[in-house]
């Protein structure tokens, strides 16, 4: 256990809100987002003595969150399952705001995980190409190409989405 528990508590409290939002954009579900953030915070706590001395503990925490999310996606109960008949789904209230929100989340969910992570890190966390590449462990060129494809896919679908969502 790290000695500087108060430092850890302050650090976590200050970042809790953006961290939850980042996790939510990655996984698309607030309950799962809270689980992911909890797992990441436990891992951070175990290495807090070392992490607190780093230049950027935030980058470390984001990396942990990304890994936790990618690991979680690989778990068997997160995989898609085949159904003979499509099960009923709960009807969500669809005001204009929630419709847009659900639309963007649905579009994000269609992206491959690392492409989604690039979008969230670049445009929600406001990281540079180089920072994003460091956190994802890939080259800046890969980040640029992934971001370009993600934006292209998102824009192409966003153009037609409002009409569809309003009809629904």
């Amino acid at each position: 256990m790290p000695a500087d528990i108060e430092g850890y508590r302050e650090f976590v409290t200050a970042r809790m809100d953006p961290l939850r939002r980042t996790a939510y954009l990655l996984c698309g579900d607030w309950h799962t987002a809270d689980d992911l953030v909890s797992s990441a915070l436990v891992k951070l706590l175990r290495h807090w003595r070392r992490v607190s001395a780093m230049d950027s503990p935030d980058a470390y925490l984001r990396q942990v969150l990304l890994r936790v999310w990618l690991d979680e996606r690989r778990r068997p109960w997160r995989r898609e399952t085949a159904w003979a008949e499509v099960p009923d789904r709960a009807v969500r209230p669809a005001t204009d705001g929630t419709a847009d929100r659900l639309a963007i989340l649905a579009l994000l969910a269609e992206l491959p995980p690392r492409r989604r992570a690039v979008l969230v890190l670049r445009y929600f966390c406001d990281l540079s190409v180089e920072e994003t590449a460091r956190e994802l462990g890939c080259s800046p060129g890969t980040v640029k190409s992934q971001a370009a494809r993600a934006i292209e896919a998102l824009r192409g679908r966003l153009v037609g989405t409002p009409a569809i969502s309003r009809e629904a």
């Binding site: 256990m1 790290p2 939002r21 607030w30 705001g97 847009d100 989340l105 969230v120 934006i151």
Partner: protein, 284 residues
């Protein structure tokens, strides 16, 4: 770009109340850490010593050698062993699996080069002298190894450690004393109270010779205390000592503890002094 950033912010703009309990996470992690420290430091050593104590009895049975068995001569060139140390024929526990190879890369810290058989003789001589002279008045040390008249180190190949179990007695009172001499692991190289048996009751002592001691106490129940100290020497040796005033043993599926003395027969300072015996090192 701004449009996408705005869409993302809008999508995450209305979070429900958080279910994350940071205080609960810290508390759970603290419990987990304490349990791990306890298991690995206290119970781990106790189990190893118990194995060392019980194995000879199980293997030799009634044919155990008489107390004060064969005298083992000190290793040639051993710098500290000047007189013969009598060892009883205890059986050294054997590893249950294949031994990992000793690494010999330049980046690995220096390992003790003394053969374990010589180390047992030398360290046993050292600890017998210490126990004869350094114990408080009225307290005597008895060997925990069956068939042995005097305390004796055992080498544990699996962990490459030297371990010794002793029963301390003062009148009707008794207590356990465990000693472990081992190469300092990288995790222990910079001692902090977080590595101690109980980080909430621990003090760090820096000695003038550059070595460092951690001294910790754990209340195992009403009137039951365990004292723990770890000395990290500058030469790369760590000496762990544990004593207590209770005994735990299984009763059916439950562990039952009985108090064996009003308080541990050694104080924490005496325990620290014991570990600081100059020749209790792996690099003589």
């Amino acid at each position: 770009m701004d449009e996408i950033a705005r869409e993302l912010r809008n999508a995450a703009a209305d979070p429900p109340p958080s279910r994350i309990d940071v205080a609960g996470l810290i508390h759970a992690e603290r419990l987990r850490h304490r349990q791990r420290t306890w298991v690995w430091s206290g119970t781990g050593v106790a189990a190893a010593v118990a194995a060392a104590v019980l194995t000879p009895a199980l293997l030799t049975g009634a044919t155990a050698p008489p107390p004060g068995g064969p005298a083992v001569a000190p290793a040639p060139g051993s710098p500290t062993a000047t007189t013969a140390v009598r060892l009883c024929a205890g059986v050294t526990p054997k590893p249950t699996g294949p031994q990992p190879p000793l690494q010999s890369y330049g980046t690995v810290r220096t390992r003790p080069t003394e053969p374990p058989a010589d180390g047992v003789v030398r360290l046993t001589g050292v600890v017998r002298d210490v126990l004869r002279t350094a114990l408080p008045a009225g307290v005597r040390a008895e060997a925990a190894l069956p068939g042995c008249a005097e305390p004796q180190f055992q080498y544990h190949p699996r962990y490459r450690e030297y371990e010794l179990g002793v029963t301390l007695r003062r009148g009707e009172e008794r207590g356990l004393l465990l000693l472990r001499v081992a190469p300092t692991s990288s995790a222990e190289a910079t001692p902090t109270c977080q590595q101690s048996m109980n980080p909430e009751d621990c003090r760090l002592i820096r000695h003038a010779d550059g070595s460092t001691s951690l001294a910790s106490r754990l209340a195992a129940g009403p009137g039951r205390d365990q004292l723990w100290t770890l000395l990290v020497r500058r030469d790369g040796t760590s000496v762990l000592a544990i004593t207590n005033n209770f005994r735990s043993q299984p009763n059916g599926k439950r562990m039952e503890s009985t108090t064996t003395a009003a308080e541990p027969l050694l104080t924490i300072d005496q325990l620290v002094a014991l570990t600081r015996a100059p020749d209790l090192t792996l690099y003589p």
